[in-house]
């Protein structure tokens, strides 16, 4: 139900009450509100839904997910 796409933070700036990020999705960028991920840093990948970052993606956990079921059972 929730179209949310991963993108990388390339700029962070404050505007009014909010912290915004310029997020790059492989060559297209969008301004994203960081209210729900205040600890996000430049270079982080975030999941973006309706113009808000909902979580900071963990590369370590992503790699771990990719290697699940390789060879043996998880």
């Amino acid at each position: 139900m929730c179209l949310a796409i991963p993108g990388q933070i390339i700029v962070i700036e404050k505007e009014g009450d909010f912290l915004f990020a310029e997020v790059d999705f492989s060559g297209v960028t969008k301004r994203v509100n960081l209210l729900f991920t205040p600890e996000a840093e430049l270079g982080d990948y975030v999941i973006v839904h309706v113009g808000f970052a909902l979580s900071i993606l963990s590369e370590q956990r992503a790699l771990s997910t990719l290697s699940l079921l390789q060879g043996d059972e998880a």
Partner: protein, 360 residues
């Protein structure tokens, strides 16, 4: 790591399918809850890859599909009154009891598509002499962002802004399904983006209460196949638990800032799910403190909707009791151009997905 193509890798998908084939010894029925998962399964043809013993059924996780017709009728009446009605694109083609927002727009009503709730707020700032109403729909993933718009409107005193809400919650819907006497679901793929906000706790409770295996699952082909794998593994072993397949985004306690925003702006009450009926404690409604921004109060409306939709069995589809192809109206009186109900219109509705993509 870009977090997309890696999870669509044909090699990894094939590996997972092989493991699933080796693992599955008995027939199992698994429900994937989220419309986004339905969309991905049908678009990537994942059902074709599953062992024949696994029956995958589609659940009610499509907020567009479950938004009550009277909310759409109310939105229409607001748009036709001269206010600016802002909505996500998903809702525009969904029929209310007689018409849709897209039809109203064609007839001259001010209906604006927005990509974010803050866009609607900006439209209100730019048009101080007009009423601006945001049609806010969604599950727990979208509700926090929607909440921000009304939170900010109150903070800044943007008096011409108000919100018409239809927010629903996933765990009460699963509870409802599981209590149904003809429930056949043995395990759930829980929606990964909802859980990104809420965390795992409510799903742990569900699992403990009903001995139900639950895999919190992402949306790429590898995610969905892994989620199914974990469900089957737990079923084969008889060890129900909650497994977090989408751990790169979901953590145990969820997003506390988002949950705090939800709690500030909304309260939980019983809610009507289109096609299904009222589900206890399953909806989020604006608190009294935000009453002045509640479009339901600002724009009084009496629904003329009979709530009986001619021939549409969306409730059966959304609860996984029937497949779209089993509906007598499917691809006859009901098509995306002339939908009888929401699941044929929504991009992630099971009926639309079957209509467009499926091998018959």
């Amino acid at each position: 790591m870009k977090y997309v193509d890696e999870f669509r890798s044909a090699d990894r998908v094939r590996e997972t399918v092989r493991a699933l084939d080796a693992l599955t010894t008995r027939p199992w029925t698994i429900m994937e809850v989220c419309g986004g998962q339905t969309y991905a399964i049908v678009k990537f043809g994942l059902q074709e890859l599953l062992p024949k013993k696994i029956r995958l059924i589609h659940g009610p996780g499509c907020p567009v599909c479950v938004t009550p017709a009277h909310i759409i009728d109310h939105a229409l009446s607001i748009a036709e009154s001269g206010a600016i009605l802002c909505s996500f694109g998903d809702m525009l083609r969904v029929p209310g009891s007689s018409s849709s927002l897209l039809s109203a727009k064609a007839k001259g009503a001010s209906v604006h598509i927005v990509h974010s709730p803050l866009d609607a707020l900006e439209i209100a700032r730019e048009n101080p002499s007009r009423q601006v109403v945001f049609l806010a729909i969604g599950f727990e993933t979208t509700a926090p962002a929607n909440a921000v718009s009304v939170f900010q409107a109150k903070k800044e005193g943007i008096e011409n802004f108000s919100m018409l809400c239809s927010h629903v919650l996933v765990p009460p819907a699963l509870e409802f399904l599981v209590h149904s006497p003809d429930n056949e679901v043995q395990a759930f793929l829980a929606p990964g983006h909802v859980c990104t906000i809420t965390g795992e706790s409510e799903y742990r409770l569900l699992c403990e209460r009903h001995s139900l295996p639950i895999a919190i699952t992402g949306f790429e082909p590898l995610d969905i196949l892994q989620g199914i794998y974990f469900c089957v593994q737990m079923l084969e072993r008889g060890c129900p638990d909650v497994v977090n397949q989408y751990s790169r985004s979901v953590c145990l306690e969820g997003n506390q800032v988002a949950l705090s925003m939800l709690d500030d702006v909304f309260e939980v009450r019983d809610a009507l799910w289109r096609g299904i009926g009222t589900i206890e404690a399953s909806g989020l409604f604006l608190r009294r403190e935000y009453a002045e921004f509640n479009a339901e109060e600002r724009f009084p409306f009496t629904s003329k909707c009979s709530c009986k939709e001619q021939g549409c069995i969306s409730g059966e589809i959304l609860q996984g009791r029937k497949r779209p192809s089993e509906c007598p109206m499917f691809n006859r009186q009901c098509t995306p151009e002339q939908p009888l109900g929401a699941p044929m219109v929504s991009n992630e509705g099971a009926c639309a997905a079957y209509y467009h993509y499926c091998i018959r």
